[in-house]
Symmetry: C2
Subunit: 336 residues, 2 copies
Amino acid sequence: MQTVFEFKEKIEVFSWASAVGKSEHDGPLGRLFDFWDETDRFGKNTWELAESELSHAVLALALKRAGLSHREVAFLFSGDLQNQCVASSAAHVEEEIPFLGIYGACSTCTEGLLLSAVMLNAAEEPLVGAAVTTSHNSAAERQFRTPIEYGGQRSPTAQWTATAGGAFLLRRGEQHPHIVRAMPGIMVDGGIKDASNMGAAMAPAAAASILSYLRLTGTAPADYDAIVTGDLGREGSALLEMLLREKGVFLGDRHRDCGNMMYDPKKSDCHAGGSGCGCSAAVLAGHFLPCLAEGEYRRILFLSTGALMSPASIQQGGSIIGVAPVIELVGGNGNG
Amino acid sequence: MQTVFEFKEKIEVFSWASAVGKSEHDGPLGRLFDFWDETDRFGKNTWELAESELSHAVLALALKRAGLSHREVAFLFSGDLQNQCVASSAAHVEEEIPFLGIYGACSTCTEGLLLSAVMLNAAEEPLVGAAVTTSHNSAAERQFRTPIEYGGQRSPTAQWTATAGGAFLLRRGEQHPHIVRAMPGIMVDGGIKDASNMGAAMAPAAAASILSYLRLTGTAPADYDAIVTGDLGREGSALLEMLLREKGVFLGDRHRDCGNMMYDPKKSDCHAGGSGCGCSAAVLAGHFLPCLAEGEYRRILFLSTGALMSPASIQQGGSIIGVAPVIELVGGNGNG
């Protein structure tokens, strides 16, 4: 039974930060991210630890901007793509923040924000919560597919796992961009078994979530300045448009996909666009939250899209399952 | 900042179910579990799909007992130990329940119950939520260590990943055993790097959570009929006792560990005891919830203990990080 959680307490994202690797900094949004590393290593000796450092650093920056310390944060929802989400646990173990690990593949950013809003509503007293999501191209490629040194030919439908991450601090309030409603997503199995075509695997889940959300809230695409998907890429975005058109729903220019926004297809080797759970996290922090804070957007839907699979499930012939939780974000009453 | 969430709405676990494999059914608690499979395969051709089937079947049984269908469930928190938690996503994709994936290693059962209580408190209207946790010995061993066919010698401190799972249905109320308070855990790095000694890696986190919870709630061990840890096993339980004794806290017979309860060390090859996130889930569903429902226990603390690590993090010399969220469960006012 799909349910839209209408929050009694609006939950504002009052501070945020983003970071990316070289390819992402070279992309169209490059100057919007807070920091980047030309080597993608962030000072570490392994790709795995580089991702942990990115995760740690974006949260530290978001806290610094808010004038807060780690000790003032009541909980942290964090997840990534590494096996057993070790990028997140290794990143935040020294910080002594109560930790709740989540795994939603590339839907992790929205899942963490949704659950943060839920936690802050359930708490007796006002608290500060945090949500951090990252991915790293070199860590993900060797884990899910082949090490990048192998130099395998990539399929035209393949997406480029972004080296990217975003951190968000949340509390009750509506001065800053805030979450007013949210909806967990129902998993959809579209029968896709090709780990190099995750856009096609996620598009049916994104379509299902958008249709459910509009129906349950009695809203139409025109009520939103943007309907943002996580990382469908060009393949998945075209499929989403087709699936919605069949139901008489047209998003038009309102549809923005973080995976399409991250790289310039003419200049980079990104094939069908960006992916990785850090992609939508960094684009939310680097682009959409500032747009909401500055009044460029008044109201958006934000649904990171996850492809639930593992190398073992693919080898055993399993389908890639899509999921797309939704949060509705409204611009702040203050100056952001 | 560690915070105890005091729930305005008490959240009752009004239906539950458990299932195990052969070794677990041969153990001291064997007759308490709802079903088991002598082959550990649950009718499937791979260990991975066997775990998914177990996950699906325990939820179906909990729903059947409550006279509910999948469509009446507003959300499902589910997690397991397989890479990218695919056991859970594959298990529940056909059910059309809004899905929120979690990863807390062996702390997943408590994390799912904690987050379910939070969701049900944040919702505007009364809803039914579900939490399901599983693990499978043969799937976990070949993923984390070596395939069981390899027949590697196991260390005396090694624990036996349980083939087990538990499903829980929750809603507002206090007729049945119910969650009154909960606390997310802070991660603790005790410097353990041996994947065959996870009890030692988790014990410091369990000690930290118990000490924090007693301090923040102003309670003492005598206020609880049992303080239940997930799967510290014999090694970890002895360390927990030592760490608490250093702080002047004595649990005595109140301490029960699901990993110690699952197997008979004289009859089985379990070495230091059971582990795996399904272990505490099955023991909660098979033993502790019935004890609370029948009045044998009035009030317990339940903290599944997680060891956050991956094969890659171990190979790269990383520590195994412990985490132990806490829920406080009180017996029902009804007949359970």
